[in-house]
């Protein structure tokens, strides 16, 4: 075989050409894959930062509410008890001194109770059902409306942050019901829907047109807050037919 007919040179050229195409292909795939990994990492960072921001907002809101509550308690409750104690200790009668001591003990109890609300450790110590019961009892005690808590499946294994977000969302829903719906009855149910914990908050108040409310930030904000903990927010309401809110929690 002559030099010109030798298959070695075309073999080398064809081989190099094919190898070059393959290398380009593999490098392109790896680069595209890496680019996607970077984009995904940026997206995750963004979600994480939004989550942290939401948590910070919620903590601020709870602290603000706590301070308002502490201020009110100091003025309306402890302040009054201290004035009463002062009057009792100012008296020369021994039984008044005794009543004064009892008042002091009560004041100490009240101050201890208040101090516990100043940090967020109570979130960890309380179960979600206990929190719901507290909230409903508080509403009932004001005589505003009847309340009921139905626990079909207890909600367990919530992290502190998740519980914090959920507590704030529930408080907001109950506040909205009291402020705007004027219901006769509020019912909260906890159950499991397809292995996902679910909280249903239902009132028989005046309801509202959900299409009009969708432009407002309240509902969007609640939905966003639920999304930060991997949950879902669903609201159904009609004028005159009350409101039903479903909070689906992550598994």
């Amino acid at each position: 075989m002559s030099e010109a007919e030798s298959p070695i040179i075309p073999l080398i050229f064809a081989g190099i050409f094919l190898a070059a195409i393959m290398c380009t292909f593999v490098i392109s795939m790896v680069l595209l894959h890496r680019q996607r990994q970077v984009q995904n990492r940026q997206k995750l960072d963004q979600v994480k930062s939004e989550y942290e921001k939401t948590l910070l907002n919620i903590e601020n809101e709870i602290q603000q509410e706590t301070l308002t509550h502490v201020g009110r308690e100091l003025h309306d409750n402890i302040g009054q008890l201290l004035s009463l104690a002062k009057l009792n200790f100012g008296s020369i009668k021994p039984e008044k001194h005794l009543a004064g001591r009892e008042l002091l003990s009560q004041i100490i109890q009240e101050v201890r109770g208040l101090s516990k609300t100043l940090n967020l450790d109570w979130v960890e110590s309380i179960t979600l059902e206990e929190f719901l019961k507290q909230q409903l009892d508080k509403i009932k005690s004001t005589g505003f409306c009847e309340t009921q808590l139905l626990v079909e499946a207890p909600i367990e294994n919530l992290k502190k942050d998740e519980k914090l977000v959920l507590i704030r969302v529930i408080q907001e829903i109950l506040n909205n019901a009291i402020k705007h719906a004027y219901p006769d009855r509020i019912v909260i149910k906890t159950l499991n829907s397809g292995a996902k914990p679910l909280i249903i908050i239902e009132d028989n108040g005046k309801g509202f047109d959900t299409n009009q409310q969708s432009s407002g930030s309240g509902m969007t904000n609640l939905a966003k807050r639920m999304a930060t903990i991997g949950g879902e927010f669903y609201i159904k309401s009609e004028l005159g037919k009350g409101t039903l809110t479903k909070l689906t929690l992550p598994k």
Binding site: E5, S6, P7, I9, P10, L11, F13, A14, G15, L18, I21, M22, F25, V26, M29, V30, L32, H33, R36, Q37, N40
Partner: protein, 248 residues
């Protein structure tokens, strides 16, 4: 053809060595990995490829038996042809095995498409053979075209999924064996495909290029087998590699 010409050529020797190493590597795999289709299917492809290549060589050597089989298939005109071995084992069965392999690595939606491809390919084989459009002992360009196209599309769909689906997000592709398997299957069939279209023209006008491309196809086929061997051997070699995601 003598026995040594048929069996003791460099291609047969190389693939036989790959087979022996493949069997040793497969035996050395832990029991649970041997039962995993990500390992036994590449092993099956490796064994099957060497088996049919040896079968082809055997029928080059055993002319009488080959002539009898050709006659049984209706070919009395060219009793030396061993194309029926290539058609049945390479074009039909190996295409199915590769499609099964690609099917393992893709998501449900693409899996359904590959299932459809396999059904269509099976029907096409039966129809084209029984209708006499293509004969099993002769060259079968239509069946080859359908099979190779499906393999190129299926392996292409793996790469599209690879850069779009979250399943492969945290994986380093260079350390993932399915990535290399698909790369070589895609390039192997793409070159065979292009080569088969242009082979007659190249053979008549550029014979040296024709022989070069034939060798390149053989080399690509060997590299594909080496990738399958590496898939089986890598855990015994203690190399760093990515395990195939199980949630595909």
């Amino acid at each position: 053809m003598s026995f040594s010409d048929a069996f003791l050529n460099w291609y047969n020797i190389v693939i036989d060595i790959i087979l022996v190493l493949g069997i040793i590597s497969f035996i050395k795999l832990p029991k649970n990995e041997r039962a995993n289709s990500h390992y036994w299917l590449p092993f099956l492809i490796l064994v099957f490829t060497v088996f049919y290549e040896s079968t082809g060589s055997f029928f080059l050597f055993s002319r009488e038996l080959n002539a009898e089989i050709n006659a049984f298939l209706g070919n009395t005109e060219h009793p030396k042809y061993t194309l029926w071995v290539y058609n049945i084992f390479n074009i039909y069965i190996l295409t199915f095995l590769y499609l099964f392999l690609i099917r393992l690595y893709v998501t449900n939606r693409n899996r359904k498409i590959i299932n459809g491809m396999m059904v269509f390919f099976f029907v096409a084989i039966l129809f084209l053979n029984y209708s006499g459009v293509e004969k099993v002992y002769d060259s079968q360009p239509i069946i080859f075209f359908i099979g190779a196209s499906f393999l190129i599309i299926a392996s292409g769909s793996y790469f599209i999924m690879f850069i779009t689906d979250d399943v492969y997000m945290d994986i380093n592709p260079l350390r993932l064996f399915s990535f290399w398997q698909m790369t070589f299957i895609l390039f192997n069939y793409a070159t065979v495909f292009l080569f088969s279209i242009s082979s007659k023209y190249l053979w008549q006008n550029y014979y040296s290029l024709y022989t070069s491309l034939t060798k390149i196809n053989i080399i690509l086929a060997i590299i594909t087998l080496i990738i399958f061997l590496m898939t089986l051997a890598v855990s015994s070699l203690n190399w760093k590699y990515e395990k195939q995601p199980t949630n595909v």
